[in-house]
Structures are given as C-alpha cells and as structure tokens.
Amino acid sequence: MEHKLPPLPYDKSALEPKISAETLEFHYGKHHATYVNNLNKLIPGTEFENMSLEDIVRNASGGIFNNAAQVWNHTFYWHCLTPQGGGQPESALGEAITSAFGSFSNFKEKFSTSAATNFGSGWTWLVKNSDGRLEIVNTSNAGTPLTESKTALLTIDVWEHAYYIDYRNARPKYIEAFWELVNWSHAAKQFAAT
C-alpha cells in the first residue's frame, strides 16, 4: 500500500506571520514529504507493506518506525494549528485541563516549559491516559504517544526545522507563536472521541 502525503489543511501562507510560508514549504513540502517517500521505499516486501500507518507505528522499529511515526506526527501537528487558532479550550476539555493542572495558565506554562527544555529533536504532547487523566509528555525524535496507549490531543514539533527559518535558536518565541495558532477544536474532538 502506498502512503500519500496528506493535504495541508490550509494554504502554506495561512499561518503567517507566526509561521512563514517558507517554513511550511520546507517543513511540509520537504520534511513531511521525505518521510512519506522514505516509508514507501522501506516497506515493500516487508510485513508492513499492507498495514495501516497506525499499525506500522505500533509495530515497527528502526528506520520504518522513524519514518512512519514522523508521517503520523506531522499530519497530527498540522491539524493542531489553524489560522483561526489561539485562545482557550472550552467545555469538557477546558474542564479536564483545569482539573489536571489547576488552571489553563498553569497548563500553558507547564507545556511551554516542557517544549522549551525538550533536549535535541522531538515533540511535546498533551495526552489523555487510559484512565482518562491528562498529562504532558515529551518524546524524542520520532517518539509518539501512539505506541503507549495514550490518546494524543495536541502536539508541538520542537525539531529545529519547525522554527529555525522563522525564529532561529529562539524556541520560546516559536512556542508563543504556537499558542496563537493552536487549534483547540481539533484537540477537543480528540478528547471527546475516546
């Protein structure tokens, strides 16, 4: 089964000035596309050839895992951003965040610190555990909550390629931009679905 680069849910310039069209040309058009192409080169003739992307992520290791997980992580990340984003979550997700972290601003601070201090390449996630509890987790490189029976609600990509064109080494500035683009309705949908 050939995996395809899913369409970006908005135009490449739609997140400007927070995230530039040039960043999306590389991040979506080169990095995400390369992970898809590499995955398609690696799986023919293996047990993974006809598996869904999620099953590959859950069962593979090494290069196949890295590329499959990065395909999944990036698709999820694009949906965590929207030109109409920002603000705070409402209803059930908003309440769950307040009950897990004390307040929305405590959550935001804790998530920002986790993202700023995630050393090397990786991702910072808001996840829902199997017992329904919310948690912030950092993963390294292609690491993803999909392999740990946790439901991903929200993610920020902190590989340097996600922010180096727009913010150079200033990862905290990129994290501020993220909060102004964050797609809470997508996060609420993930929360409600499990």
């Binding site: 590389f26 050393f119 090397g120 390449s121 390294s140 292609a142 590989w159 340097e160 064109i165 150079r168």
Partner: protein
C-alpha cells in the same frame, strides 16, 4: 569555577561560502554560548562545580551532562573546520584510514552516509580504536564517544542548527561543505597523540 566560551579559532566569516557568518553567529554566538551559560547555572553549588569539563562529561547525567557535553563537542567541532581545510589526510592517519576503509574515497563515502542517515539531532565522529585502526560512530543529542573511553579524531555536527540557515533540509550539501573545510592537521595530531 565558571566556564567560559572558548574563542573561535577563526573569524565568523572565515568559512564562507561553505558555512556562512550568519550560521556561526548563531551556532557559536548563541547555541554554544547558551550551553556554556546553562552549564554554569546548573553546576553552581553542585558536586560538579570545580570539576574539569571532561570529568563532568564522564560523571554527570541529565541536563548537566547534556550541556557539558555540548560545550565540549562544539569546541572540538570548531577545531575540525578550517578556512584552509579540505583535501586528504597524510601520514599515519591516512594509513589508518586506508587500512580500515580500503581507501580514503570509501571512508569519505561511509562517513557521509552515516552523517546524512543520522536520525534526529546528533554527531558523527571518527574515532581511534585499538591497533591503530579508525572507526566511524554516530551519537545522539549531546552524547559523545568520550563517555566510552574513545579517542576522538574528527566530528561533524548533525544538529539541524548546524546547517539549516545555509542548506535547509539538504544534509548532503552541508556534508560537501564539511569536506571542503575539514581540518586534517588537527585530526592527524589527535591521532598521533591518542
């Protein structure tokens, strides 16, 4: 003891056009400096406060290890580059490379392959093994071969911040630049002393 940022062994624009002054302004002036400053903040009042950098790398873990190792790795990396670099090694190092990789050409190809295939942030090293042999090693994030008692001869920084300003996602072109700048004199003296 307060660690200081070691001086760059050449001007910021000395590696142009292979590596831009802008890259060095960020890579040396921001990233390397930040690792030094963060290390100083972290070791104040700890058992590591008066230790030489190499001892911290051998004994610490977590953020102290990450920052200490990155201070060391970057200082080593600057010395692996030179405006008068490039070409091929001579003397005992050249013999060792030919013995271990059959030819300089094959060594260069293998080093380039391991560098461009390195997934996530990290470093690629040429190390000296037993019996005057040499080997290529990849390390992740801040890790380096010193922790395993290796003698390091040469390194190439494969964190995205090392090449994203000049080459974006094109690691291959960054490796071409690296080979044009590589300081074989330093690598040879590391080999002879080790």
């Amino acid at each position: 003891m307060n660690y200081e940022l070691p001086s760059l062994p050449y001007e910021m624009n000395a590696l142009e056009p292979h590596i831009s002054a802008e890259t060095l302004e960020y890579h040396y002036g921001k990233h390397h400096r930040k690792y030094v400053n963060t290390l100083n903040e972290l070791i104040a009042g700890s058992e590591f406060e008066d230790m030489p950098l190499e001892s911290i790398i051998q004994k610490a873990n977590g953020p102290i290890f990450n920052n200490a190792a990155q201070v060391w790795n970057h200082a080593f990396y600057w010395n692996c580059l030179s405006p008068k670099g490039g070409g091929e090694p001579v003397g005992k190092l050249a013999e060792a490379i030919e013995n271990s990789y059959r030819s300089f050409h094959q060594f260069k190809e293998e080093f380039t392959k391991q560098a461009t295939a390195l997934f996530g942030a990290g470093w690629v090293w040429l190390v000296k093994g037993m019996d005057e042999t040499v080997a290529i090693e990849q390390t992740k994030d801040g890790d380096n071969p010193l922790t395993r008692g290796r003698i390091v001869l040469l390194t190439c920084d494969m964190w995205e911040h090392a090449y994203y300003i000049d080459y974006r996602n094109d690691k291959g072109r960054y490796l071409d630049a690296f080979w044009n700048l590589v300081n074989w004199d330093i690598a040879a003296s590391n080999f002879d002393r080790g």
